[in-house]
Amino acid sequence: MGIQSGNMQSRLGKWLIVAAAGAAFCLLAVMPSSAQAPAYKAPKTKDGKPDLNGIWQAMNEANWDIRPHAASQGPVYSLGAAYSTPAGLGVVEGGEIPYKPEAAAKQKQNYTDRLKLDPEVKCYMGGVPRSTYMPYPFQIVQGTNTMMIVYEYAGAVRVINMAAPTKAPADSWMGWSNGHWEGDSLVVDVTSLNDSTWFDRAGNWHSDQLHVIERYTRVAPDALQYEATIDDPKVFTRQWKMSMPLYRRMEKNAQLLEYKCVEFAEEVLYGHLRKQPLKGDSK
């Protein structure tokens, strides 16, 4: 009996050690997986939809070039290191944009002439998806049958129709957005985008045949995963996709401010028509 009892104790002890080891293993296994998309359950709004409300911003270098790129000299020598291009890993899945040959040549020309051609220089609205990863915050206001996405840059705004899909009467800079929920993801079908916006400062471009399908998914309390599937048969040989996390602006007083940039672009757009030309190129 005594022997048996000792045996039991020892077996219990061993079981406890195994249990402790197992628990530790599980914690290690569970913790990282909860940071990945499938394990995280998005908090819901009061009407039961994943809650995407918030002020969000990208933290990457897609603004300069959505493809992988090394650091490089900026387009204006006098601005030196302050306005040069930081290196970036890129956000295009697979790293490469499947341009048709003539479209690839146009991108190179766009890059060469970017000071003249980049719509951002002119304070033109950023379009979709570029507005998402410009270095400015944007805010999602999640209404009952509509969502509004307001971008600080150029005060651009999109109203996403969450009811039965509707059609655009004409092309526009920010396109026409119909949204729906797929599980915990907001899926937005964006059509009727004009051909005047770019993807980045590197001159990556599209035509008026651009069709973007965006997915916004909460993956952590303060992060969204953003995906954009890009289709444009005039410019690309196949569909391609970009993806990146977007982060919540966590400052207690975070808010969208005003970046009405028209005034900042008037000299570059209309300076040659001045009565008295400005001397030099500095304020």
């Binding site: 080891a21 651009a156 300076g271």
Partner: protein
Amino acid sequence: MRRHLLSSLIALVAVVLLVSAPVFAQGAAQSQVTAKPAPAAKAWTMPRTPDGKPDLQGVYSNATNIPVARPANLGAKEFYTDDADKAASAATSGRGGRGGAARPAAAADPEGNGLAVHYDTSQFGLGGPTVKRAASLRTSIITGPEGRVPALTPEAQKRAADRRQFQQEHQWDSAQTRPLAERCVTWGFEGPPMMPVGYNSTLQIVQGQGYVAIVQEMIHDTRVIPTDGRPHGPAEIKRWMGDSVGHWEGDTLVVETVNFEPRMAIQGNAVSDAAKVTERFTRVDADTVLYQFTVDDPKTWVKPFSGEYNMVHIDGNVYEYACHEGNYGMANNLSGARATEKK
């Protein structure tokens, strides 16, 4: 033994995963309150958002035939007695007011110099009878016995005179000296206070958690107004549309705005750093939001003034007005001015 240990471990992992998964899911479920559909009732009841606030969401027209200032012949009469009275009075005062009133271009621009008319709105189907307006017997948007914007303070008169002189001397010098609306910086009507214009008098309200967002079709000017009790931002940050914070007083959304960019004009007069605008949004029936405002800027007007009009729900959308992107008029005007100088 080894096998035994391994199998215990696997079993344990499975148990913990099974236990932890519902825990995560439960956490999410607890924060979720089932939406209650509004009870069907014949009498109109205030629709509410899932968090219980009055639901102001929708697309509205704020086009109106009511003039900002009351026609002088009406004295202190704030309301017409009925539609017949209104029609008779409009015929004698000879004006339809702002808000897309159909008016022949020749009457608005008697000298035919093209300066008084931006667009003939009826020609483009932008105004006139095509635009839905809320019915109203008001004689003027500005309320009270005077029914007009009060007199400017001496300081504001000097500001306005200086600005006029600068404009006269420099109006064709550069884009930067052209009027703000022509530059697509602001039309000045987007406010606050939001004032009806000749066309594009369309706006949309979306309510999210802790915010009310208002996009106006006029040059896509948008305000995202926090309603979470935060104070205004730092006074150093001036904005064209000001710095708006909101709160609910009963079923009325009250929005207070300060920190205006000093070149922003309300009713044609640049405001001062003391300007404060208070707006009140009250949904009064299925189709109508009563919009009320008070402008208080003691450095600009001798006393505060208030106004109100009804915004009416419309079917359809707010469309993109890419004003700056399509502003070929600016280059044309300036090159015209340069060409004239060479003559």
